[in-house]
């Protein structure tokens, strides 16, 4: 399980990354934390001709930046540096993200860009109506989380674009957050997970791990949460695999959705 050969680049500025991507396009993959990419390479499930290692970018913030009503994560903010205090929902979500050794290297931006439908951070971004800023040699553009996640492991980046920042609105008064996740082992990807962001009269639920994209459901205070979740999943193709049947996942989605909504609502006072 050794990786195939690749040409290796270690640019020192964001502009240098832009230039490499302009030249190489989809022959290149960005290497940030490597916790998702390197297993793929070791298993030879992918053989990119070029790797662009962005760990050498100079002057990048290593911690989340709080400004202007938002919390911003640059490309080299590791999970381990975002675990506490960035945002109450992230504080809760990070506990489920892999294990300490994974969190030492994995980055927030990298996890979002990887767009794994069973991962916590993409779902958290959707729950918080976060944004993703893409850039390329021709400039940058900002997409909503919803616009960014296009499919399982698929994001809206064009061939020469990469993610330079992920941001979420600062937590407001009167909001409450909760995460429910069911996995077979501590730290595994979710068989079914729910991010909940509540205000006093409504809760946004984001289900992950059950389909090719996270599912966002807005529930108001007097709704029957389980019924709303059932409804939201009616036309969704729910995963059926080794770890859980479709029927089981739908059941978990309701159970965990209800639990997450209740816990988040309690904190929204």
């Amino acid at each position: 399980m050794k990786p195939p050969p690749f040409a290796y680049h270690r640019p020192e500025s964001r502009e240098a990354v832009d230039r490499l991507l302009a030249e190489l396009g989809d022959e290149a993959k960005i290497l940030a934390g490597g916790q998702s990419l390197i297993p793929i390479l070791n298993m030879r499930l992918s053989s990119p001709a070029h790797l662009i290692d962005i760990n050498g970018l100079a002057g990048e913030a290593r911690e989340p930046v709080h400004d202007d009503g938002a919390v911003r994560f640059g490309p080299l903010v590791r999970h381990a540096d975002a675990e506490h205090g960035a945002h109450p929902l992230l504080d809760a979500a990070m506990e489920f993200v892999g294990h300490p050794a994974i969190r030492s290297r994995g980055t927030v931006v990298g996890s979002v860009a990887h767009a794994d439908p069973a991962a916590e951070l993409p779902a958290a971004l959707l729950a918080l109506a976060g944004e993703v800023r893409l850039r390329c040699a021709n400039g940058s553009r900002t997409l909503s989380a919803h616009e960014f996640f296009v499919g399982a492991l698929e994001n809206a980046c064009g061939g020469d674009e990469w993610v330079e920042e992920v941001s979420i609105p600062t937590a407001e008064e009167g909001t409450g957050y909760a995460v429910e996740e069911f996995a077979r082992r501590h730290g595994d990807y979710a068989i079914c997970g729910v991010m909940a962001a509540a205000r006093t009269d409504s809760v946004r639920l984001v289900h992950f791990g059950i389909a090719s994209l996270p599912i966002v459901t807005d529930v108001s205070a007097d709704d029957d949460v389980r019924a709303r979740v059932r409804e939201a999943l009616t036309d969704v193709e729910v995963a059926d695999d080794l770890h859980g049947t479709e029927r089981y996942r739908r059941h978990l989605a309701e159970v965990l959705g209800e639990r997450a909504a209740a816990r988040a609502a309690v904190r929204a006072v």
């Binding site: 399980m1 050794k2 990786p3 195939p4 050969p5 690749f6 040409a7 290796y8 680049h9 270690r10 490597g34 916790q35 390197i38 297993p39 390479l41 070791n42 298993m43 001709a49 790797l51 290692d53 760990n55 050498g56 381990a80 892999g98 294990h99 300490p100 050794a101 994974i102 030492s104 290297r105 501590h186 730290g187």
Partner: protein, 161 residues
């Protein structure tokens, strides 16, 4: 840095406090560089996909799975491996001693990974609950001990710290 596929590059990294220079292909995993290019075979390889933790070392004092990092990425950084845990006179560290006293190992293959991970938090383990210790040791597989001796060792090391 721009290196072609299959080309080798000279890098310098600090391992257990000593500067080491080595020439590697860019795809050379840190685990392989430590074991085969630097002769430090104490770090073991169990899965090469980041689940078992046998290959855990410290990079800049943080636990890292060395099978999920390229050696070139460690250039200029400080790496610590199990070979560096014992004291200057060769005396076992308190953590190693605790593993010995509490039967924290059997075949020894997962042990270096556990030691390196535990070295980052064991001093607090005296005040941690059993659940907290197990969570802090999460992501490391052991097939021999059922983890009982390992948890006891980490807790004991913490209590005596």
């Amino acid at each position: 840095m721009d290196v072609g596929p299959g080309d080798r590059v000279a890098i310098s990294l600090t391992v257990n406090g000593v500067q080491r220079d080595v020439e590697v292909e860019t795809r050379r995993l840190l685990s392989d560089a430590l074991r085969h290019d630097l002769g430090l075979t104490g770090t073991h390889v169990g899965c090469e996909h980041g689940v078992c933790g046998c290959c855990t070392v410290l990079v800049d004092d943080r636990p890292v799975r060395s099978c999920l990092m390229f050696a070139v990425q460690a250039a200029g950084h400080e790496v610590k491996t199990v070979e560096g845990l014992a004291g200057p006179d060769g005396e076992l560290s308190p953590l190693q001693q605790a593993f010995k006293e509490h039967h924290g190992l059997q075949c020894g293959f997962c042990t270096p990974g556990f030691l390196m991970l535990a070295s980052t938090f064991y001093e607090r383990a005296g005040e941690m609950s059993d659940k907290e210790i197990r969570e802090a040791l999460g992501g490391q597989l052991c097939r021999c001990t059922g983890y009982v001796g390992i948890v006891n060792a980490v807790r004991a090391a913490g209590k005596s710290a």
